[in-house]
């Protein structure tokens, strides 16, 4: 049986169920007991303060502490409240977390899940709004996922918690606060890593849209349909590993590729997929690859400027029209 849950409820339920299932799972992070956004709200009542552990404000050190716990038999879920703040923990994440298993010859896998909030549009200006997923893709050994529906939020988070590999889950603030709803089964399920999903079928162009950008792409599809342009929208769900098969099977059909991300353009997720397209899949392309991403500027505080900064339906429509 499926019920309708919002994005935040799906995350909360995934954590609660995994904590009931496995006593080695616990949550730590800044203010996880009160939980300012609500993803871990109420869990302390069921699981107690030891397993819902408030930490000092010290991102690098709490990441290291979570890694240490993962080295010694626990499966921590670490919350780094804003992805902007995760930059304080990049020594642990990029220098050590993903590489630890390899460099110890497989002796020490680190079953650690990091949850962090990305996304602008909440009028939080430059320090609480960035989508910094592409900062993580250079680090070997990490799994990176970004759900866009309650179903995927729960299923990917469960896969992350059960994985012996370190996983970073990017949660978009508009999905958390905006209360996006969706059907979520009552019975246990997981969403495997590396499996994209086709959100909308179409034969004219392939639009790969990460996370919240999938909703902008759906809006763009409606507008483009008025001109008889049918785009196919793919939600990769996993950034690493990336489901190249689903993406390029679609490109084989459409011959056109547009990659949409909320993060910035230079060296972004779109750059990586465009490079793949121009290499192994060049013969599939009938038109130049298009990237839709944020410009290389800080996120301005002014609501007017912030809206101009963000990739959206209109920028996707423009990019599609350039090649269709």
């Amino acid at each position: 049986m499926a019920r309708t849950l919002n994005f935040m409820q799906a995350i909360n339920e995934a954590i609660a169920e995994e904590m009931r299932r496995d006593p080695s799972v616990f949550v730590l992070g800044e203010d996880v007991r009160v939980s300012p956004f609500g993803q871990t709200a109420g869990l302390v009542e069921e699981f107690g303060e030891e397993r819902i552990l408030n930490t000092p404000i010290a991102e690098n050190a709490i990441t290291g502490a979570a890694m240490g716990a993962a080295m010694n038999g626990m499966r921590p879920i670490l919350e780094l409240m804003f992805c902007d703040f995760s930059m304080l923990a990049m020594d642990q994440i990029c220098n050590h977390l993903g590489q630890w298993r390899y460099i110890t010859g497989g002796q020490y896998p680190l079953p650690l899940t990091i949850r962090t909030a990305v996304g602008a549009g909440m009028r939080m200006a430059y320090g609480h709004s960035q989508s910094l997923e592409s900062q993580f893709i250079q680090a070997p050994g990490l799994i990176l996922v970004e759900p866009s529906t309650p179903y995927d939020a729960k299923g990917l988070l469960k896969s992350a918690i059960r994985s012996d590999d370190p996983v970073v889950v990017f949660e978009h603030k508009k999905l958390i606060f905006g209360g996006v709803e969706g059907e979520v089964p009552e019975e246990d399920y997981t969403v495997p890593f590396g499996q994209a999903v086709v959100r909308k079928q179409g034969q004219d162009a392939t639009v790969v849209a990460f996370g919240f950008m999938g909703y902008e792409a759906l809006n763009a599809a409606q507008e483009l349909a008025q001109d008889n342009i049918a785009i196919e929208i793919i939600d990769p769900r996993s950034i690493v590993p990336l489901d190249k098969d689903t993406i390029f099977e679609s490109v084989e059909k459409t011959g056109r590729l547009i990659i949409v991300e909320e993060g910035r353009l230079r060296g972004g997720l779109g750059a990586e997929i465009a490079a793949l397209a121009c290499g192994d899949y060049f013969s599939l392309l009938k038109a130049p690859v298009q990237r839709v991403a944020a410009p290389m500027i800080p996120i301005p505080g002014s609501p007017v400027l912030e809206d101009l900064y963000l990739p959206n339906k209109d920028s996707i429509v423009r990019a599609v029209r350039r090649v269709c």
């Binding site: 080695s24 616990f26 030891e50 397993r51 552990l53 930490t55 000092p56 010290a58 690098n60 050190a61 709490i62 990441t63 290291g64 502490a65 979570a66 890694m67 240490g68 716990a69 993962a70 080295m71 010694n72 038999g73 626990m74 020594d91 642990q92 220098n95 050590h96 993903g98 630890w100 298993r101 390899y102 460099i103 110890t104 010859g105 497989g106 002796q107 020490y108 896998p109 070997p140 050994g141 799994i143 994985s163 012996d164 590999d165 890593f193 590396g194 690493v240 590993p241």
Partner: protein, 323 residues
């Protein structure tokens, strides 16, 4: 002195082994047989062996880049160390860690290069020990230079806040990389920083193995009893330079001579001879035996199989098909 003669002799042998390992490493480098840079801990053997001596097999050790002392102390064999140092497939890290030694069977989770990153990891292993209701202790062995890393503070804070079974063992060897400690610290001691977090501490002589061992034993017992973290600072002198290739022009020779007169291995030998635990002849024999063990380990290491191209992509992910 509560250390038995038999225990003292065991610790003495380990100190000899550490020095022989590092001298051999230096010799191989000089002869051009290896390229692996060394950061030796010559003169600090009583600290490295004293801090690991009281640990149980299930206790967790985070060591430093400086020498092999604490790894030998926790039970790593010269053979395993050389297999790893030489990047061989049979090394504990399958040749991928080399200087970054890790050995799960001995509860040594690994060694970082961005110094101090492991400060908080040690807090995390201790947190897990407490959550899992074990009486396991984590010993975090660290130099005074690294204690200036920002993470030292939240790590001590969390350890105290959550009353975790972790011992911070600070080896103050007077040098922070290529400069004197006084260029890095406005104070003579690191240890009083612990008081800021309500962590009890002790500052002890780092040259006398009995002192280092017993101070650690007290600190470990405190942590194991559930009384929370403890910090011990051991005062010693780095006779080696920062790395092989550093000529050490910055070292005051007179001061070096003064510390050399209290060499930890010489001090221990004197005690053993005075207590008639060994004779001069037996000592010579022991030293030869230790050197032979190290030479044998080096030989076996060189003879061991190298990893292959298949190993290059192994061990990154537990799950299949991610790469």
């Amino acid at each position: 002195m509560s250390l038995s003669n038999a225990k003292l002799l065991e610790l003495y042998r380990k100190m000899l082994l550490v020095r022989s390992m590092e001298e051999t490493h230096g010799k191989l480098l000089q002869e051009g047989k290896i390229q692996l840079m060394g950061h030796f801990g010559t003169g600090q053997e009583a600290v490295a062996i004293g801090v690991t001596g009281p640990l149980r097999p299930e206790d967790i050790l985070f060591g430093t880049h400086r020498g092999v002392g604490e790894f030998i102390g926790k039970g790593m064999t010269p053979k395993d160390i050389w297999l790893e140092y030489l990047g061989k497939k049979a090394g504990p890290c399958r040749g991928k860690g080399t200087l970054h030694l890790a050995d799960r069977k001995l509860n040594i989770p690994g060694l970082v290069s961005s110094l101090g990153a492991d400060f908080s990891m040690a807090v995390g292993t201790a947190l897990a020990s407490k959550m899992r209701r074990t009486d396991q202790v984590t010993l975090y062995y660290v130099g005074e230079g690294t204690c200036n890393q920002a993470d030292a503070h939240p790590s001590m804070c969390m350890a105290a806040l959550w009353k975790l079974p972790v011992v911070f063992a600070v080896c103050t060897n007077q040098f922070c990389e290529l400069s004197y400690m006084c260029d890095h610290y406005p104070t003579d001691d690191v240890a009083p920083r612990a008081a800021g977090y309500g962590i009890p501490y002790e500052v002890v002589d780092g040259q006398d193995i009995a002192v280092t061992y017993e101070a650690t034993e007290r600190a470990v017992a405190h942590a194991r009893r559930g009384q929370g973290p403890f910090l011990v600072e051991y005062k010693t002198f780095r006779m080696a330079t920062h790395f092989t290739g550093d000529p050490g022009h910055y070292v005051n020779p007179e001061e070096r001579e003064q510390w050399a007169a209290r060499d930890p291995i010489d001090l221990c030998r004197k005690k053993l001879l005075e207590a008639a635990v060994i004779t001069a002849d037996a000592d010579q024999k022991l030293r030869a035996e230790v050197q032979a063990e190290v030479d044998g380990a080096v030989r076996e290491g060189f003879a061991a199989a190298d990893p292959t191209v298949e190993d290059l992509f192994e061990d990154l992910y537990s799950g299949k098909g991610v790469l």
